[in-house]
Assembly symmetry: C2
Homo-oligomer: 173 residues x 2
Amino acid sequence: MTSSPRPLDATQLGAYFALIEASSLLKHAVEQQLRDAGDLSYVQFQLLATLGDAPAGSRRMTDLADGVVYSRSGLTYQAQTLEKRGLVTRIQSSDDERSITVSLTDDGRAVLAKVFPGHIAVLDDLLFSPLSGSDIETLADILGRARDHMRRTPPRSAGPRRRRTTPRTDQPD
Amino acid sequence: MTSSPRPLDATQLGAYFALIEASSLLKHAVEQQLRDAGDLSYVQFQLLATLGDAPAGSRRMTDLADGVVYSRSGLTYQAQTLEKRGLVTRIQSSDDERSITVSLTDDGRAVLAKVFPGHIAVLDDLLFSPLSGSDIETLADILGRARDHMRRTPPRSAGPRRRRTTPRTDQPD
DNA sequence: AGTATGTGCTTCGGATTCGAAGCAACTGAG
DNA sequence: CTCAGTTGCTTCGAATCCGAAGCACATACT
């Protein structure tokens, strides 16, 4: 069973490790900056930033969770925390009785603004400085494609409801 | 103070988000695979893999922590867990009385082997499949450079080891 | 040698995390 | 309308995580 798992070639391995290491190192550094610039955790920042980017500064809980790749329960926790700090509000959607709309408050925007310059500085220092303009373009392109692919690929073996996806080999459905 | 923070241009933003999102999505997916293939968390896998890669299948705690970008206390916790499961051993270095050498056991190697094929499958499906060979090469190159840069850049404002903390205004070194 | 500093690891306490289970509102088929 | 299945969110319990503090060995400076 553990026979030749078709080993990744060196390049693939290198790309994989570089991806994981780079993102970990970057996240770690950013986390520190955020911590002492505005007492925010990385997720919290991601949430505020996502909201700030949204059309009306607001999004549904679920969309937010998907956006930052987070568990729903985790998001509930963080949303409560952020609400307590007055950085976001949570109101029930009149449209959908069970849906909750999270919105950025003015305070939230303020914190975001306060933290942003330092955030960018870290990115410049750590991520962009050793790369050329075209490197960055290329990176955005390649990783963008990878991300899009992952976003649209359902979790392996977790899809209990694949209506099609499978060429009805045993399940006519 | 919050005046024009010199906004990142669209490409930079795109690269940054793509990096974070891609790594998060990938990590998440891999985590699930590892969980039900060998009941390992991502860090645990990283640790075993790092050890498996090491010359004698062993490393010092500190090096291990740096390698996977983890806190020391977190590593202590995981090392204990892995030791309890018999996947690694921890022995004091005879050389350095306070240093601990973590080594992969045969069981550890077995688990690693058991989990590896599925791990690679996930990588192929999610990360590599939408990329060309040269994409992967390029990715490895660019991210590799970024990672190396970050590894050698000390944490901002964490003052590596300024001898006196004071800018020799009174201390002529 | 003798003291100040540095290094390696663990313990401690508290914050965060996630999955599973639960609840309420929606949806679609009869 | 009514029932079964979904979907959106929260609660719960247990695992994990990190930084600060602590401890013991090592090294440097005098």
